[in-house]
């Protein structure tokens, strides 16, 4: 019996030790990035696990695409073709406007805006912690990804990279409760902060006084303040405005425009002002294209 009690005691001591170690690690991981290498090593160890876990959804995907009828494929191809022509036409106008903008900026002696480089990435279909809004994408620091890198889909801003592993990285979505994003109203440039709520279809816009000029239906775009996100990408549409006399600020709910829970492909953006990763490190120059610019704001 004495040995059992002794074992229990040593186990308790070990537990205390491990608890101390855990707290140290948590603080170190929260405040610094010294643990990035430890995370990378462990992440490399679980790559096979990730691969196996993603097999069922890959199978489902391929079976689905296999079962797709010829008419469906044709219809989709037609739609994509139409879209392609339309986008090309828009792009021509955009290029003209960009060069005009550059020469106007030179006239004003303002800094020229560096066009952002982008890289396509695919979603890895594994489940992360269900209580945070994160997704895993198949590009890691081998592709020159950096922490804080903006992530978009074809509709708008999705979030930013928060953890980098060798072959993949975790993206915190704008709806995560810990995420805040500086935005402005596209109509009039009014600045605000869009906070995540933990629901995948809602953002909260904070710190706007009741006399602020904002309406239901307004499009919010990134303001570029903070330097992390490029300016002018659509973020959300204002869905609901509640003005309560007892509160100092408006309560505003907005719908994210990016398809946060449905996209399979995302764009990673190298933002000109942010910590610039060496463009030579990007492996696939063909994958780099100019990002789609949101439509002009004027009527």
């Amino acid at each position: 019996m004495a040995t059992r009690a002794g074992r229990s005691e040593t186990l308790f001591l070990r537990l205390l030790l491990l608890a101390g170690l855990s707290v140290t690690i948590m603080v170190a991981d929260h405040r610094t990035d010294y643990l990035q290498s430890l995370r990378s090593i462990l992440a490399a160890a679980i790559v096979p696990v990730q691969w196996v876990a993603a097999v069922p959804s890959r199978v489902v995907d391929s079976v689905n695409s296999w079962l797709e009828s010829e008419e469906d494929v044709r219809a989709r191809l037609d739609r994509l073709r139409n879209e392609h022509v339309q986008l090309k036409a828009q792009l021509q106008r955009l290029q003209a406007m960009e060069s005009e903008n550059a020469s106007l900026r030179r006239l004003l002696a303002a800094a020229e805006q560096v066009p952002d480089k982008v890289l396509m990435a695919e979603l890895v279909e594994v489940s992360l912690d269900p209580y945070t809004h994160k997704i895993l994408v198949n590009r890691g620091f081998r592709d020159g990804i950096y922490v804080g890198q903006p992530v978009l889909d074809q509709e708008g801003v999705m979030g930013q990279v928060t953890e980098i592993m060798p072959f993949s990285s975790a993206v915190t979505l704008i709806t995560d409760p810990s995420h805040g994003l500086p935005v402005q109203v596209r109509r009039n440039g009014l600045r605000a902060i869009a906070l995540g709520t933990g629901q995948s279809d809602e953002l909260k816009i904070s710190y706007l006084t009741p006399n602020a000029d904002i309406q239901v239906g307004d499009i919010l775009v990134t303001s570029g303040l903070g330097g992390r996100f490029p300016r002018g990408y659509p973020v959300a549409e204002v869905k609901e405005l509640i003005s309560d006399a007892s509160e100092a600020f408006l309560r505003i709910a907005a719908d994210p425009v990016a398809r946060l829970d449905r996209t399979n492909q995302v764009l990673l953006v190298w933002h000109g002002l942010a910590k610039q990763a060496d463009p030579a490190q990007q492996p696939d120059p063909a994958a780099q294209t100019e990002p789609p610019e949101p439509a002009a704001a004027g009527q």
Binding site: L18, A19, D29, H30, I46, T132
Partner: protein, 153 residues
């Protein structure tokens, strides 16, 4: 060997992408497997191994490192404290004990996470504990048979 394999399978199950409606019910597979092995071989499975396992769970979830590590170490210790009693329990009583252990595990990890980032938890946070307790008798039988099979090999 069986231990390693069962942990690997539990990792895959944790990372498996389920349909959205099923996500809140996904039990803590790794925690369940850990409880089983502490009961089966208490002299070899200690908080140390549990801690390393938890660290891997943190990496898989892209969480702050150390949260699940601490939770798992605590879980292993508590399971060790009650393992003699739990071994003689009938299956339903064992399931209840597992439910309580899972609740403590979830409470500890949820609490630490709440300290670091704002986190909104509702009743659905505790659903996996119920699912875990319901799965326990089956998991117990499977792992016991797997262990016996491996010993005969």
């Amino acid at each position: 060997m069986v231990v390693l394999l069962s942990f690997l399978i539990s990792f895959v199950l944790v990372m498996l992408r389920l349909p959205d409606w099923a996500m809140p019910y996904q039990p803590d597979w790794v925690a369940l497997v850990l409880i089983y092995w502490v009961l089966a071989m208490p002299q070899r499975m200690g908080p140390g191994i549990a801690w390393v396992t938890g660290l891997l769970v943190d990496v898989m979830h892209a969480n702050l490192l150390g949260i699940h590590a601490l939770g798992m170490a605590l879980l292993a210790y508590l399971t060790f404290r009650v393992h003699l009693r739990m071994r003689v329990f009938p299956w339903w009583q064992q399931a209840v004990a597992v439910f309580v252990l899972l609740m403590i595990y979830r409470a500890s990890t949820g609490w630490i996470r709440g300290l670091v980032t704002p986190l909104q938890l509702d009743y659905s946070y505790w659903l996996p504990c119920i699912v875990g307790a319901l799965i326990w008798p089956f998991l117990f039988a499977v792992l016991r048979d797997a262990g016996r099979f491996a010993r005969h090999l």
